[in-house]
């Protein structure tokens, strides 16, 4: 539980953070520290320099802008949980925030940190995927925006480049009459997701379905979406969605849930989620 020695630098702007990242090579951003520090204590991660972005004002806060809810990357889980805009427009984000860790984790951990870390069992990835969010990145060579659906690429890996920072998550406000839900079957030890299922049902009949915890990285389930989108959601459609769900996915297996059981749980949770948005 003792990390390798490292340098520590606190920065006050995104620009300063980017300069620090570009200078040393061995630098790593520190936000809430609730993924990074445990990994460092186990010596799984040994950065030479920690660049603390935890106090950059521009990375904090939630606002409404151009039909989107903009969540700045340094916003904590608890700030999201207690935000009125979120409760009003993105109730499933509100629900998900409640399920992340405990009070301490929610007080420090950030959405940007969670997305960058891309833990296969983290909650936010499922939410940003189901909500068709965009992720804003800043780098030394400028800014770019990625769709959430393009962002996650593998176990703990994303499109984020070494010298880039996530600055904000832009979530389109779902049209009036939308319904959403996030359900999670927790790993009893870590309370991360064994299966997390986020569903957004839009008034035009489209249904977005995203899973986390099931595979190396969170994903949108096109098969399940196709089975139910635009359909009357009767038992048959539900059945079809369950059959189509998590097909062709390489499913995780661990002490608590084998691949077979996880797959079963994904289907059970999909059904519960679909019932919740009926």
């Amino acid at each position: 539980m003792i990390p390798v020695a490292f340098e520590y630098k606190k920065v006050s702007s995104v620009e300063e953070a980017l300069t620090s990242l570009a200078s040393g090579g061995e630098g790593k951003l520190l936000a809430g520290g609730y993924s990074l520090i445990p990994a460092m204590k186990l010596r799984l991660n040994q950065p030479a320099l920690l660049i603390d972005i935890g106090d950059i004002p521009a990375l904090k806060g939630i606002r409404e802008e151009d039909g989107e809810i903009v969540i700045n990357a340094g916003t904590t889980h608890n700030d999201i949980l207690h935000n009125d805009l979120i409760q009003q427009h993105l109730p499933f984000f509100h629900e998900a925030a409640k399920m992340i860790g405990d009070e301490q984790v929610r007080n420090r951990g950030t959405m940007g940190g969670s997305l960058a870390h891309a833990d296969p069992a983290a909650d936010w990835p499922a939410l940003v995927l189901a909500a068709d969010a965009n992720i804003e990145l800043a780098g030394t060579s400028g800014k770019r925006t990625l769709k959430a659906t393009e962002f996650f690429t593998g176990l703990f890996s994303t499109e984020l480049q070494e010298n880039e920072i996530i600055t904000a998550i832009r979530v389109p406000i779902p049209a009036e009459g939308s319904k959403s839900v996030y359900l999670k079957f927790e790993n009893p030890a870590s309370r991360f997701a064994i299966v997390g299922c986020a569903v957004l049902r839009l008034p035009d009949g489209r249904i977005n379905i995203a899973f986390t915890g099931v595979a190396d990285f969170a994903f949108r389930d096109a098969g399940a979406e196709k089975a139910v989108s635009g359909k009357t959601m009767d038992d048959a459609a539900m059945q079809e969605a369950q059959t189509a769900a998590v097909v062709g996915v390489d499913i995780l297996s661990d002490n608590f849930a084998s691949a077979e059981y996880r797959k079963h749980l994904a289907k059970v949770y999909l059904k519960r989620a679909l019932q919740a948005v009926m």
Partner: protein
């Protein structure tokens, strides 16, 4: 005993909580000595590997390094001893390989210490330890006790063929039991695993050893349950240092659950090394290190068979257990699956024929030893799972089945103790009482009604029972000696009345969270009729406490408390002489009550405080009496104590996921007389949480390479408050007939009783849905329960 100022039976708030809750506790790791150095151990990442070479060159050159030792440096030193000898059936002594302070030839489990680095700071020690280059040659590994005894399994120790440490049996001759079972109308057979669990004290093991070159005295601060035992084992068996040159101090200790009874190699190694470098050395385990190196608990593979007649009367019990002892014998490792397990297989029942056969097995895993309950939970699990299963199989009510088999009530005074088939003699009991009370609290009839309705609505509700007994107050020295203990198990209590009438009590029962400072003070306050504030309970230091055997086996009050009572009796007797002299009366005419020595039938009296002062300022004083008021007693109990109780769990199982929700937990415990009901209830709560933890959440998972795959809290599931309903607890009081307080002990009851109740409840829920499963392996994870429900439904 006299309850003069009514402190007995009161839920006095714990006096030690002031410091614990405000962060003012002082634990071993809080102690920093002048010129302090820090140790970090280099541990084998392989479960079984030959050590081909150790290259220290790079590590030695690292900043801050003071010394590095390897197995070769300590090869001449004895290993840490085993404190209990179990013999083979043929009389041969058990196989007892050396448990070296650092391994020289082979590492035998993941975490086995190969070297130690001592440096100026903790960080430097850790950095340098990473640079110790060990050349390992991996060897084949064996982890499962039942498989390790098969021919061809890799050998952990050359001196133990087939990895067998001992084979052992107890009870009636096997043929008699075979016959009883052959004659049975019904035979219930259960093959199961009582899985290995990790103790997880919140304070990791921590040691700080120092040497004073002038006085040639060593001091070891250690997070232990028994400082004197550590001193005895370390001095006499390992290092050969005379005891009077060693002071062992156990400061505040943050939990042990058994794991801090044992003498670990790190303690002796640090004590040895501190003299070499002439500076104090501290080591505190990291959490994953605790997972890997604190002695684990349980790990039995068992086949148990119970025969019944047509009315449900038990005719016999046959048990075969493979007990995993790990890679080395921990201090009490061999005793747990034998004398603390086999001896409890009578349970609460009149079973006329019992035979238990236990094979102790070495494997490439962390050593296994006593863990809260130690052997008794395993015995209870075995019996109580059999009882509920038999009830299902015979279509009998599990409560009724128990009532038909209970030993009838006996108080141990008018009616004699109950002689079991497995060596022990129960002290006193009223077993129907606790079950009847439990059923009442549950509302049994209504529950069964509700369960049926639930089943019709596709919901799975279940109830599980466990009526347990345990042997506590460990124990009469002569008895345990005849059973293989290499130590006595008495306890010491010294009472020193200060000149002003304030009282210091020195007890060998070193607390690690139990609240001794409160309970013991209540006992003393009652007996002497003085306020609790006037009493100080001193424990945990071999320089201030005469001797002690420590805290485990729910023995503190029954044995340690009794020793204090003996000394208090001596104090009062001497006080009477002093008072009589002052009052010009005869000592025989004196009585002592409410803190006053009074001449019987008169109003002539003198207070306890006055007598104390007179003892130290003996101007007007009996001629033949020594001054002072200070007595010490060694109390060796006449028998174990036998607490018992009834635990009932109610669960709901989610059909589509297998998730178990514990809805109710009822615990009716009979722990004899109760000094502080709040502390007893707290012990029950904690114990139940731990026992339910084993049933539903906890389990050390070794893979076939001997890697402990869940050595962090991300992977090893500890029970949490929100996993539990409010516990419904009640007590029944059947006093212990053979100790002065009439107490039996409450420290382990919760852990012993609760585990089978929960598993039985889940299985009952499944039967209510037509899934007639016999067993689900603990911990009952959602997946395991779900899989059990994939079996065909019988209606």
């Amino acid at each position: 005993m006299s309850t003069t100022n009514g402190m007995i039976g009161k839920s006095v708030k714990r006096v030690e909580d002031k410091r614990f809750i405000t962060g003012k506790g002082r634990y071993t790791d809080d102690i920093v000595l002048p010129l302090q150095t820090y140790a970090c151990f280099v541990r084998s990442p392989y479960a079984h590997a030959k050590i081909v070479g150790v290259d220290l060159e790079v590590a030695k050159a690292m900043p801050g390094v003071v010394a590095i030792y390897t197995g070769a440096d300590v090869a001449a030193i004895n290993g840490v001893p085993c404190g209990w000898q179990v013999n083979f059936k043929n009389g041969d002594t058990m196989k007892e390989p050396k448990h070296a302070l650092l391994v020289e030839d082979k590492a035998r489990y993941v975490g086995d210490a190969v070297a130690v680095v001592i440096a100026e700071t903790r960080e430097q020690a850790k950095d340098a330890a990473q640079m110790v280059l060990v050349d390992y040659e991996e060897l084949p590994v064996t982890v499962d006790a039942a498989k390790a005894v098969k021919p061809g399994a890799p050998l952990v120790h050359d001196l133990a063929p087939n990895n067998i440490c001992f084979d052992w049996e107890l009870g009636n001759p096997k043929e008699e039991v075979d016959q009883a079972l052959a004659d049975a109308a019904h035979l219930t057979t259960l093959e199961f695993v009582n899985q290995r669990v990790v103790p997880n004290a919140i304070e990791p093991r921590s040691y700080n050893a120092a040497y004073d070159a002038v006085s040639e005295k060593y001091t070891l601060y250690t997070s232990t349950q028994n400082p004197h035992v550590i001193r005895l084992l370390m001095c006499a068996f390992v290092l050969g240092i005379p005891e009077h040159k060693v002071r062992v101090v156990g400061p505040d200790v943050g939990g042990g659950f058994g794991s801090k009874i044992f003498h670990y190699p790190e303690e002796a190694l640090l004590t040895w090394a501190t003299k070499n470098i002439n500076r104090p050395i501290k080591w505190t385990a990291e959490r994953t290190e605790s997972f890997l190196t604190d002695a684990h608990g349980r790990d039995h593979v068992t086949k148990a068979e119970m025969g019944f007649d047509t009315t449900g009367k038990i005719l016999g019990l046959r048990v075969k257990t493979y007990a995993n002892l790990g890679a080395y014998l921990s201090t009490f490792g061999p005793c747990v699956p034998t004398y603390l397990h086999g001896t409890l297989l009578q349970g609460l029942y009149t079973t006329p024929k019992i035979n238990v056969d236990v094979t102790g097995v070495f494997t490439n895993t962390t050593p296994v030893d006593a863990y809260r309950g130690a052997g008794r939970p395993e015995a209870t699990y075995l019996l109580e799972r059999l009882m509920d299963l038999a009830a299902h199989e015979m279509e009998m009510d599990p409560a009724e089945l128990r009532l038909r088999n209970f030993i009838p009530p006996f108080d141990g005074v008018e009616q004699p103790g109950f002689q079991t088939q497995v060596a022990l003699q129960y002290d006193s009991g009223n077993y129907e009482g606790v079950l009847t009370k439990g059923l009442e609290m549950l509302g049994y009839k209504e529950f069964r009604q509700k369960q049926q309705e639930a089943a019709q609505n596709g919901k799975l509700l279940g109830v599980g029972f466990s009526t347990y007994i345990e042997a506590c107050g460990i124990a009469p020295s002569a008895v345990v000696g005849s059973l293989g203990a290499r130590a006595g198990l008495f306890e010491v209590g010294q009472v020193r009345v200060q000149p002003t009438g304030k009282v210091s009590v020195f007890t060998g029962s070193h607390a690690h969270g139990q609240g001794h400072e409160t309970t013991f003070a209540q006992v003393v306050a009652s007996k002497l009729g003085i306020p609790m504030e006037d009493i100080d309970i001193v424990h945990g230091d071999t320089d201030s406490v005469a001797f002690g055997m420590g805290t485990y086996g729910s023995r503190s009050l029954a044995v340690g408390g009794s020793a204090i009572i003996r000394s208090l009796e001596k104090i009062i007797e001497k006080g009477k002489k002093i008072a009589a002299h002052r009052l010009e009366a005869n000592a025989d005419d004196m009585e002592f009550e409410h803190g006053q020595f009074t001449v019987k039938g008169t109003d002539k009296s003198v207070s306890f405080g006055d007598v104390a002062l007179t003892a130290y300022v003996p101007h007007i004083y009996p001629k033949d009496l020594e001054p002072g008021l200070d007595f010490s007693s060694f109390y060796d109990p006449a028998n174990f104590t036998y607490p018992f109780g009834c635990h009932i769990a109610v669960v709901e199982v989610e059909k589509d996921t297998g998730k178990v929700a514990l809805q109710r937990f009822i615990a009716v415990d009979d722990v004899g007389n109760i000094i502080n009901p709040m502390i007893v209830e707290g012990q029950i709560h904690g114990g139940v949480a731990q026992g339910v933890g084993q049933a539903l959440f906890e389990g050390a998972e070794y893979d076939s390479n001997g890697q402990l795959t869940n050595a962090t809290y991300m992977d090893y599931c500890m029970p949490r408050a929100d996993d539990f309903p409010l516990f419904e607890t009640a007590t029944q009081v059947t006093p212990c007939p053979h100790n002065p307080l009439g107490v039996k002990g409450a420290g382990e009851a919760g852990t012993i009783g609760s585990t089978p109740a929960v598993v039985n409840a889940v299985i009952d829920a499944l039967w209510s849905g037509g899934h007639q499963v016999k067993d689900i392996r603990m911990p009952l994870t959602s997946e395991r329960v779900w899989r059990a429900m994939q079996t065909p439904v019988n209606t």
